[in-house]
Symmetry: C2
Subunit: 161 residues, 2 copies
DNA sequence: AAACTTTATCGAAAAATTTTCGAAAAATTA
DNA sequence: TAATTTTTCGAAAATTTTTCGATAAAGTTT
């Protein structure tokens, strides 16, 4: 269930700041929003409990840690009943860094990070294509990540209209 | 230029821990890796200077902050010379949260986060499709983000083979 | 190989932050 | 309005980050 109702204006302003920069200190947020540090802390605890905040991830330049090839992979299944089993096997391939269940051309849509083209070839040919239930795949290679950002939380308030 | 050579084993082990959980304290990393807190700090500063670490982002459950629809958008351009202008205009649409320059079926590939289907319709019809140089688009709606994780830095070392 | 230079680490002190918690204030309910 | 619950503040305690000099390690030059 989705209940954005539980978030008030201060919650959103805290998140709007942290979404830009997750390393911003609670004390700094407190200064900017004119509340106490304790308030920021208790609200973040609550947002974590609610599952609104899942955690924080380090934003790496993947090319600089050796993953020079990023690709998207559209996956066609033989039968949609294979879905759960295919998902389970894709989860065991560390190069698959995200997976979506989609409508449209593909049944599943994955994002891959590989060290080089040879590595990508191996992952596709030896791992993904070998999964039972995968009919065929379509690869989009990312030549450049032009940008990557989070949603805007400041502007529009999440209200059930 | 990509020079993963500059990263040694301790760098990678620090990153491997922080990639799992960017909120882990440097002092805790120091304990686990048997180095001093000062070392973790100076190495992270260096990794930031090198651009390996770009920062940290809060990991939100988008549905719980009111963005219930996530979609991928394959974009075909009339001419590839329109690319820069189209990118500039996509950057001004906050609902476009990431953009890749791709090979394969599409010229550009975007990820969108919208509040509801009506909102998505507006973004597609009133904003994206109106951009000069965009021939047509293909939408993949994500029904579920099955998982989302970072690369594995512990296992394989980034070595130019 | 010795002397020199450079760089990285440690360890501890200082500065800043997080976390906790009781009292006060605010909001909600009866 | 009184009672109850929830939230906030403010300050203390615990922890962490950041700085920095001394030391050690690594790399250069002679």
């Amino acid at each position: 269930m989705t209940r954005p109702h539980e978030l008030d204006d201060i919650d959103r302003r805290i998140l709007a700041l942290l979404v830009q920069n997750a390393t911003m200190a609670y004390s700094e947020i407190a200064r900017q929003l004119h509340v106490s540090g304790g308030t920021v802390h208790s609200r973040m605890s609550r947002l974590e409990d609610l599952g609104v905040v899942r955690g924080a991830t380090l934003d790496l330049d993947l090319t600089k840690v050796g993953f020079t090839i990023q690709a998207f992979l559209g996956i066609y299944l033989l039968k949609s009943s294979y879905c759960d089993a295919v998902i389970a096997q894709l989860r065991d391939i560390p190069e698959v860094i995200s997976l979506h269940f989609t409508t449209g051309s593909y049944n599943l849509f994955a994002r891959l990070a590989c060290r080089d083209t040879q590595h990508l070839r191996n992952v596709l040919h030896d791992l993904v294509q070998q999964i039972e239930g995968v009919e065929r795949t379509e690869t989009l290679i990312s030549l450049e990540e032009v940008f990557n950002r989070s949603v805007r939380l400041d502007e529009t308030a999440p209200v059930a209209s």
